[in-house]
């Protein structure tokens, strides 16, 4: 079926919800497309059971109000379970295709969010090793505690709600392993003090962990995982690391789940397919370039594309909400409250940059790899193969690595490995941006294409 809308928002998380709300309140007719069944995004994992959601999320109230406002707004049509596989600008119109539908508009707001950043290490493909986000989605979205002895590791503030959530639901966290130092916040204490709600949120998590006697370890990292006879995770090697993340000494820890997160990677697949201008941010991730009104640089000026939330740079829900609101207003050409919103955004942005500095990830993780370590999980390409590309053939780009090794050619389309391959090859920024370009955004069968008359 074909659908035409005045404004289309893609993504039902904090940024997308606020974008839809503000655009609709400013008089626009809005379609909100989301791949999930229920609104909320990865941040407000909305299971449809409000009592449980309240218990697993520290600010579900805010999300609940926003989701209700969006659902109740007669100017907003919500399309759930809507996965876009192709995006293009044709005849002064933006066309988005899903398996069954074609959506078109001249004003698009992208709020496609982010997913966990993963670093490879020996054994990270063993069942039981997962992202911190996976453990969180299992708990919040599914009511399942990921394992019996869980290690939460990596770097960044996200590790705290994950570990504290598991603990307060009766799960056993055998350690929280943070790569940054215990006092990594000290140089940024002024910014922290300007954000008292963040302090109280963080202290709440720490208190839960302390009560449950969960060990917090700093300047350490999980550098290897080991399987038992059943092929499942049995133990991990934890290292004391230096400031560059190189291994100083190691010890072993038994666990059946290692939930590891190294911050987040923006999902700019749609932005890339539309040819929007992208750049490499300070944290090394590829982000959409936007102006003061969240307007992206579109290859065709006849259509307007806005971007909000994590795809313009990792910054958390507060920044996403502010950017979403500004994008919604801009798409509706309204200026109501714009100045206050920009002030909010500036403050949240400053906090986001501080977080990126405190939890930065130096290149020393590359010293954890062995020749056999899997780099591309889909195509099972190991570190030795990637090294060959660079040493024997002098390649520094993902395309050469792809052609020679198949890394990034599997089902995930390089979403997990491309950033790491770029780091390993020391790729220039232009190549990092090309490396995340995917003309087909979600897998689709030839049969489905033929049905659509596109073959």
């Amino acid at each position: 079926m074909e659908h035409k809308h005045q404004v289309i928002v893609v993504g039902g998380g904090p940024a997308g919800l606020n974008a839809a709300k503000y655009a609709a309140n400013a008089g626009c007719e809005v379609a909100l497309l989301d791949s999930a069944t229920r609104l909320g995004g990865q941040y407000w994992r909305n299971t449809g059971n409000e009592i449980e959601d309240q218990a697993t999320h520290h600010d579900f109230d805010q999300g609940s109000l926003l989701m209700d406002a969006v659902t109740a707004n007669p100017r907003i049509t919500h399309y759930p379970n809507t996965t876009i596989w192709s995006a293009a600008i044709l005849d002064d119109e933006i066309t988005l295709r899903t398996q069954d539908d074609v959506f078109s508009t001249t004003r698009l707001i992208l709020a496609t969010g982010a997913y966990d950043r993963s670093l490879p290490f020996p054994g990270w493909d063993i069942p039981g090793v997962m992202t911190a986000g996976a453990a969180q989605s299992l708990l919040k979205g599914e009511g399942v505690i990921a394992g019996k002895r869980i290690v939460v590791a990596g770097s960044g503030p996200f590790l705290l709600p994950v570990a504290s959530g598991i603990t307060s639901h009766g799960g056993k966290v055998v350690g929280v392993i943070e790569a940054a130092g215990r006092f990594a916040w000290l140089p940024e204490i002024l910014t922290l003090l300007q954000n008292p709600t963040k302090i109280s949120e963080g202290l709440g998590y720490l208190l839960t962990l302390r009560k449950a006697k969960v060990a917090m370890r700093f300047k350490q990292a999980v550098v290897a995982a080991h399987a038992g006879a059943d092929g499942l995770l049995d133990s991990i090697t934890v290292a004391n690391i230096d400031a560059e993340f190189r291994i100083k000494s190691t010890y072993s820890l038994q666990c059946d789940v290692a939930a590891i997160g190294w911050g987040f990677t923006p999902d700019t697949s749609l932005a890339g397919a539309l040819g929007l201008k992208e750049e490499v941010a300070a944290d090394g991730s590829v982000v959409v370039v936007v102006d003061d009104n969240q307007c992206a640089t579109s290859p065709q000026p006849e259509v307007q594309v806005f971007a909000a939330g994590e795809i313009t740079g990792i910054g958390g829900s507060g920044l996403s909400l502010a950017e979403g609101a500004i994008a919604g207003l801009s798409a509706a050409a309204s200026r109501t409250n714009l100045r206050q919103l920009k002030k909010l955004r500036r403050r949240a942005h400053r906090f986001a940059l501080t977080l990126q500095r405190v939890y930065s990830i130096p290149a020393g993780w590359q010293s954890w790899l062995t020749p056999e370590t899997i780099i591309c999980r889909c195509e099972e390409v190991n570190y030795e193969a990637i090294q060959d590309v660079s040493e024997k053939f002098g390649a520094d780009d993902a395309r050469s690595a792809k052609l020679m090794t198949r890394c990034g050619m599997g089902m995930c389309q390089g979403r997990i490995c491309s950033r790491n391959v770029a780091d390993l090859l020391n790729s220039p920024d232009s190549d990092r941006i090309k490396g995340v370009y995917r003309p087909i955004i979600a897998p689709i069968t030839l049969g489905e294409l033929a049905q659509d008359g596109l073959l």
Binding site: S35, T37, Q42, T47, G48, Y115, D116, S118, D125, I126, P127, G128, V129, M130, T131, G133, A134, A135, Q136, S137, L138, G141, E142, G143, V144, A146, G231, L232, D267, R377, C378, E379, E380, G410, M411, C412, R415, I416, P443
Partner: protein, 82 residues
């Protein structure tokens, strides 16, 4: 409560749960074996991004178990080679 089968074994799941979560609640952690080295894989990203938890559902291979809701009578089988 929902009843489904995994490799012929009858298991229960909570309404609305994903296949991966339902399996994990019964301590079933392997969804597929890789097609090159035959190594086991299970849930990794949990949000449909990484395609590691692929599984055969009602005869259809390459289904992401972490974002597919389990349904009454579903026939789920470990995928050998993906």
């Amino acid at each position: 409560m929902i009843t489904f089968t995994f490799n012929g074994l009858e298991l229960t799941a909570r309404t609305g749960q994903s296949v991966a979560a339902a399996l994990l609640s019964h301590n079933e952690r392997i969804t597929r074996l890789t097609r090159i080295s035959g190594k086991p894989r299970g849930i990794f990203c949990g949000i449909g991004v990484c395609f590691d938890c692929l599984i055969i559902i009602d005869g259809k291979p390459n289904q992401r178990s972490c974002i597919t809701e389990v349904k009454e009578g579903m026939v789920v089988v470990t995928q050998d080679g993906a």
